[in-house]
């Protein structure tokens, strides 16, 4: 496997509270990595570190090393905007902008300098198709995005993220606010996206991790307890704590 992001000895503090302890992990390229673990173990924190969304929280301190395609993401020279363009993110609660469906998807490309209408139309259509929502919204692209269902909003948010052509897509419990039907649609979508993107997905749902992911990382109390191929983690975990968690003994 080729790793695209490599994390070495990473620690993170919120003020005095250490939320991540000495993480070491290599995220494999063009595959799906699931982050599992009980609430509050630091999954979201870890995910937000990868595209530096933690920069927005005052009092966060990070040590250690994270490299994206070999380059230090904390280097002074790094343009955070470019990093986030490369490493896109989908949030736990669908958060489309209060504007039209079209403008939601076109927002990213416009931000990155694309103004040509024909080109934008193409990008928007491709992103919406890739996010498996084109057929549902193609006749109402001018309608406000807040008017579609929660499941559709989340796929729209995925389309919005895809429209800037990222390399990596971070997803923080993207289906936790959705009904089962929307959830399975998004799971199918994630499996399709694996062809083109590297995906890191936080999930609360272990069945989901088994269904979609190639690799699984198990977090507990800010530590990365175990990382490996999903089938190995779920069939023969090396660590007692992983076994306890996946067999439902706690969490």
């Amino acid at each position: 496997m080729n790793s695209i992001i490599s994390v070495k000895d990473m620690c993170l503090w919120y003020g005095d509270h250490q939320a991540l302890k000495n993480l070491n992990v290599e995220i494999p390229e063009k595959s799906i990595t699931a982050l599992i673990g009980p609430s509050g173990c630091g999954k979201s924190t870890f995910l937000k570190t990868l595209n530096r969304m933690n920069d927005l929280i005052p009092g966060v301190r990070i040590t250690g090393d994270i490299r994206y395609k070999g380059a230090d993401i904390f280097d002074k020279e790094v343009d955070v905007s470019n990093l986030r363009k490369e490493i896109g993110m989908v949030f736990q609660n669908p958060n489309p902008f209060p504007m039209s469906i079209y403008n939601n998807v076109a927002y990213g490309p416009r931000t990155h300098g694309i103004t040509n209408k024909v080109q934008l139309d193409e990008i928007v259509e491709r992103a919406l198709r890739d996010a498996a929502i084109w057929d549902e919204v193609k006749d109402r692209l001018k309608k406000n995005a807040l008017g579609i269902s929660g499941g559709q909003q989340q796929r729209l948010c995925i389309a919005r993220a895809l429209a800037v052509q990222p390399t990596v897509l971070l997803m923080d419990e993207p289906t936790s606010a959705l009904d089962p039907i929307s959830t399975s649609r998004i799971e199918e979508l994630i499996l399709e996206l694996k062809e083109k993107y590297t995906i890191v997905i936080v999930t609360h749902n272990m069945q989901q991790a088994v269904r979609v992911s190639d690799y699984t990382a198990f977090f507990l109390l800010g530590e990365l307890v175990e990382f490996g191929r999903t089938e190995d983690i779920f069939s023969q975990p090396m660590d007692k704590r992983t076994e306890d968690y996946i067999t439902g003994r706690f969490g």
């Binding site: 969304m53 927005l56 905007s81 949030f91 489309p96 927002y107 990213g108 931000t111």
Partner: protein, 318 residues
């Protein structure tokens, strides 16, 4: 409690329920009566406000309409000359209407960009310390009595304009516009900051995560999301500017000229009423009431616009 017999248990509980009901509905009627009385008092107090508005409206219409009819609505609204004390009096209020419109428009043209940018800065860029310090300053600006604005304008602004533009008299439309622009800043800033602060962080995070810079995010996501609140802030500023009397009386020269130039001595709708009221009589006095009525209609229009924008805000969140 041990339930020995299901039937008797049910009976017991039903008995208990009816007892409880009786207690609530009959014995409790004392509390209920008190509730009614309190409700009545509040309603009465609320009606005082409504009553005042109704009374003022009716009074203004009754006392404002006769002069308009006597002078003729066209001559009154579009007459270019106001000479109420001349041997052959003229009651045209176009100079006042235009002055009020130009003065307000000028104040908005200066005050809105400044206020808007200040709000974006305060809501999105400023550190909490700077924000709270500047917000206190804005609050203070709102609390300064308008006569003080007028005084400072008279002593600083008017001579300043005379020197800078080399005109015989600095008191005029420009001085009034500048004073009004400053006076409407606090309402614009306060309301816009509130609207911008209320924009959900999720929107901004989504934008940043797409690789937009903070500035792009604020202007392309936060400001559009707050637009009805900001529009309401502008309308509120317009209302303040058009209703202001004391400060503009002191800096505008207060002569009923047509506002042909920025340095013209002019009189606003508000000051037209207050300047002559003390010594007016007959038709002149009635005409002053008519001016007040015109001003009132302007304000009603602005209030309607304000309600429109605020309603827009409410329905959007649904």
């Amino acid at each position: 409690m041990v339930i020995t017999n299901k039937k008797s248990y049910i009976k017991q509980t039903t008995d208990y329920n009816t007892k409880l009901q009786k207690k609530l509905w009959y014995k409790g009627s004392k509390a209920q009566r008190l509730e009614h009385i309190v409700h009545g008092i509040f309603l009465l107090l609320g009606l005082i406000t409504v009553g005042c508005v109704l009374l003022i409206t009716i009074y203004l219409f009754i006392s404002g309409i006769p002069a308009i009819l006597k002078i003729g609505i066209v001559d009154f609204l579009f007459g270019k000359e106001w000479a109420s004390t001349a041997a052959e009096p003229k009651y045209g209020i176009l100079p006042f209407i235009l002055t009020s419109i130009y003065g307000t428009a000028g104040a908005v043209a200066i005050g809105v960009p400044v206020g808007f940018m200040t709000s974006v800065y305060l809501s999105k860029y400023a550190s909490p310390k700077v924000k709270s310090a500047m917000q206190s300053a804005v609050g203070l600006l709102a609390g300064i009595p308008s006569v003080v604005y007028g005084l400072v304008g008279m002593l600083v602004l008017v001579p300043g304009i005379r020197k800078i533009f080399n005109v015989p008299d600095g008191a005029g439309l420009l001085a009034a516009i500048i004073v009004l622009a400053i006076m409407i800043l606090p309402s614009i800033i306060k309301m816009s900051v509130t609207a911008l602060d209320a924009v959900p962080k999720e929107y901004e995070h989504a934008s940043l995560a797409l690789g937009a810079t903070p500035t792009e995010t604020y202007f392309r996501v936060s400001v559009p999301a707050a637009k009805s609140g900001i529009a309401a802030a502008v309308v509120l500023g317009v209302g303040r500017a058009i209703g202001e009397a004391m400060a503009v009386m002191m800096v505008a020269g207060n002569v009923p000229n047509m506002p042909d130039s920025l340095f013209q001595s002019v009189r606003f709708l508000t000051t037209a009423v207050s300047s002559e009221m003390a010594y007016s009589n007959g038709l002149q006095r009635q005409a002053l009431f008519s001016i007040a009525l015109v001003l009132f209609l302007f304000i009603m229009l602005i209030n309607a616009a304000l309600n429109f924008f605020l309603k827009g805000e409410g329905s959007k969140s649904n």
